[in-house]
């Protein structure tokens, strides 16, 4: 170990130590929501093939359970996990410690209290019925204040950075940190505080939903991919000079693509046309990002066997590409005519939230948590079980929902088939989805157990301290040397 390596390691260890409690609190809350949201999602899925299941009580009626599940997964699991990952990565890449972490506890408390009140509000009958904004109005301010504390930490950490270069992951993190509060505040104002009239509401809603998925969850997943691939493989991102182009192109077009969700809706046609055009333009950044990431993988696929983070990251990149393809297809009129309003629409959002974003966060957690706690994962079998169920679940659900959705769309467009017959034909696929979601749920339980062993002070005393191998030195080639990162 040469002296520079040692210095780098000490510095990283310091940063990791400063981020320990914020990371544990946010990941802990995230996993709790993942289990709860997953259970609610499973109930909602079962209700589609066994409608009598938990139907007697208004709190558990399908419409409320499904909205609650979606919100728990997005604001509970998704946001908390992104906070844990984003804060840690921002500190690492800015080569500075995460200071005054105590405030982040306050923020985490507020955020989770807000989400809990919101979910209870939905179950109790105060839903607004706007997609992903179902949580009642009274939680908006709590969430925004909590987010302000968290977002300010990310931005402050970025602004006191000790590095000359700003790395790709930082662009995505920084952008997402700004976009979310704006999207959320604008949507809440335009839909609930001072509601716009008529079909402008669906327009605002589509703009928000598309923005949340495309300008928050996807950037988070890409930040993880751009960081972990070079880190673990020990080589720079292939064709890195294209990455800024891909970033600006991706986010600028995504911001205008929201209207593509409204093809055929009673809104002016320019809205869906603009969205469709934006989605067409998205092909280029997606190809560039795929070149960046798969180009880095080339020749190093053997490393997949050694690192679970790498395996999850690969699933996440594949998820990103599948989601982009489906998004593109859904903005083509001929395809949308059949696929619109079917399980394929669900699949698009699920691919982003689960296949792309959640798997990236699982990978990140397996990398970050041993480093911040200094402890080894106790059960390798549970790690394998988690990855196995996640990969299998993603493959099964993608295939299942895609073929079921296509089938459903064709039946819906054939008026000779009675509606009841469509429901009957779909029953198998609804059951299939429950099985798939159940599989993922088992994986999440494995993740929870391993997390509790490493993070809970009462359980972690039997865990073994971890010795990290030195990360492979970055073999920086000429040209990319100036873009190295911490």
């Amino acid at each position: 170990m040469n002296p520079t390596d040692k210095n780098a390691r000490t510095e990283q260890a310091e940063i990791d130590a400063s981020a320990k409690w914020p990371v544990l609190v946010f990941f802990g809350s995230a996993i709790a929501w993942l289990i709860l949201g997953g259970a609610l999602q499973l109930i909602a899925s079962i209700q589609l093939h066994s409608p009598a299941f938990l139907a007697a009580c208004p709190w558990t009626t399908h419409g409320r359970i499904l909205s609650a599940a979606q919100n728990a997964l997005v604001y509970g699991w998704g946001m908390n996990a992104a906070f844990a990952f984003g804060l840690w990565l921002m500190a690492r890449l800015s080569a500075t410690t995460l200071r005054h972490g105590g405030w982040l506890f306050v923020a985490a408390k507020f955020w989770n209290v807000g989400v809990t009140l919101g979910i209870l509000g939905i179950l109790g009958g105060y839903s607004t019925s706007f997609e992903l904004l179902e949580m009642p109005r009274y939680v908006t301010l709590i969430l925004l204040v909590a987010y302000a504390l968290i977002g300010v930490w990310a931005v402050t950490t970025f602004s006191i950075r000790n590095t000359e270069n700003v790395y790709a992951s930082q662009w995505y993190l920084f952008g997402a940190a700004f976009w979310f509060p704006w999207l959320y505040a604008i949507a809440e104002i335009m839909l609930l505080k001072a509601p716009v009239r008529g079909v402008l509401q669906p327009v605002v809603n589509a703009w928000y939903v598309h923005g949340l998925y495309g300008l928050w969850f996807i950037p988070m997943a890409l930040a993880a991919a751009y960081y972990f691939l070079p880190k673990i493989l020990g080589k720079p991102i292939a064709n890195y000079y294209l990455a800024p182009l891909a970033f600006w192109w991706l986010v600028a077009t995504t911001a205008f693509a929201g209207g593509s969700r409204l093809i055929g809706a009673p809104v002016p046609i320019w809205i869906s046309t603009l969205g469709g055009a934006a989605n067409f333009l998205l092909v280029i950044p997606v190809v560039v990002i795929a070149l960046n990431l798969f180009g880095t993988f080339t020749g190093s696929y053997s490393a997949l066997g050694k690192s679970v983070t790498l395996r999850f990251t690969l699933v996440s990149i594949v998820g990103f590409i599948l989601a982009s393809i489906l998004n593109f297809a859904l903005s083509i009129r001929g395809f949308a005519q059949i696929a619109q309003f079917t399980l394929l629409t669900d699949l698009r959002d699920w691919l982003i939230l689960y296949a792309c974003f959640s798997t990236a966060m699982f990978g990140a957690a397996y990398f970050i948590l041993p480093r911040v706690t200094g402890l080894e994962w106790r059960s390798g079998a549970l790690v394998k079980a988690h990855f196995g169920t996640a990969a299998l679940g993603v493959a099964l659900l993608t295939f299942g929902l895609a073929s079921a959705g296509w089938n459903q769309g064709q039946m819906l467009n054939n008026d000779a088939i009675a509606f009841g017959d469509i429901t009957k034909a779909l029953t198998f696929w609804f059951t299939f989805r429950s099985v798939g979601l159940g599989l993922l749920f088992i994986g999440h339980l494995a993740f929870l157990i391993n997390f509790a062993w490493i993070a809970c002070p009462f359980l972690s005393n039997r865990a073994t301290a971890i010795q990290f191998r030195n990360p492979p030195a970055l073999s920086l080639t000429k040209g990319s040397a100036s873009e190295g990162h911490a």
Partner: protein, 225 residues
């Protein structure tokens, strides 16, 4: 990329432009859409919801009906909505200005409900139509066999009749869905409001101002909707 300020300005500009370009322009175009006065009938369309129906809208909202039902009829030539008798015509933006919250939805696990208040292709008589909705909500299988719609029995009360004459509102349930002898199932205020809302869903007036925009998709001109 090294410049933090450039990054910030870019990030800010993207969202600002998307907000102004998409939401503000749409608002400018549609924000002041008003009711249309039919020159012959001298009536304003779309007609406002009744008070009870507006309460029903809130029930529809809180039960999350929008998770499975859309409320938008796609124009002829784009899907089979018209053929399925979900409407006589595609929906216009103007149809929705009467509703305080608009639930166009994005999933058709259940059928479209935009014109569920008119009986297109349905042979049920007018008097029985609200009864149909009550039965659908109380025991969906009794009127729509094979459906996976959950029962909303919690919107109803089961009373013992105690020898009294049955309430005029009592549901006429038969077979396995009927309550035990000597009791009756009566809709609560929430159920009545919800059914009033469902029955208010009908876009039967065809606006002469919009009619031209409702041509089949292939023939529609740029700029129409």
């Amino acid at each position: 990329m090294k410049n933090g300020l450039a990054l910030f300005l870019g990030v800010f500009a993207i969202l600002g432009l998307s907000w102004a370009g998409l939401l503000l322009s749409a608002h400018k175009q549609l924000g002041s859409l008003s009711q249309f006065k039919d020159p012959v009938e001298e009536t304003l369309y779309p007609q406002p919801l009744s008070g009870l129906a507006d309460q029903g809208r809130l029930v529809y909202q809180d039960l999350g009906c929008v998770t499975c039902h859309t409320q938008q009829v796609r124009h002829e030539g784009f899907g089979a909505d018209i053929e399925r008798k979900w409407g006589e015509r595609g929906s216009y933006a103007r149809d929705y200005i009467r509703e305080k919250t608009v639930f166009i939805g994005q999933s058709r696990i259940g059928p479209d409900l935009r014109n569920v208040g008119v009986r297109l292709g349905d042979k049920t008589s007018a008097e029985d139509y609200s009864e149909y909705f009550y039965k659908l909500l109380y025991a969906p299988q009794s009127v729509a066999p094979g459906t996976n719609m959950p029962s909303y029995a919690f919107l109803f009360e089961t009373h013992p009749t105690n020898g009294r004459q049955a309430s005029y509102q009592a549901l006429k349930l038969t077979g396995k869905y009927a309550p035990t002898v000597g009791s009756e199932v009566v809709p609560t205020a929430r159920a009545r409001a919800l059914v009033a809302y469902l029955q208010s869903l009908k876009d039967t007036y065809d606006y002469p101002t919009e009619r031209g925009l409702n041509a089949p998709a292939e023939k529609s001109k740029e700029g129409g909707h």
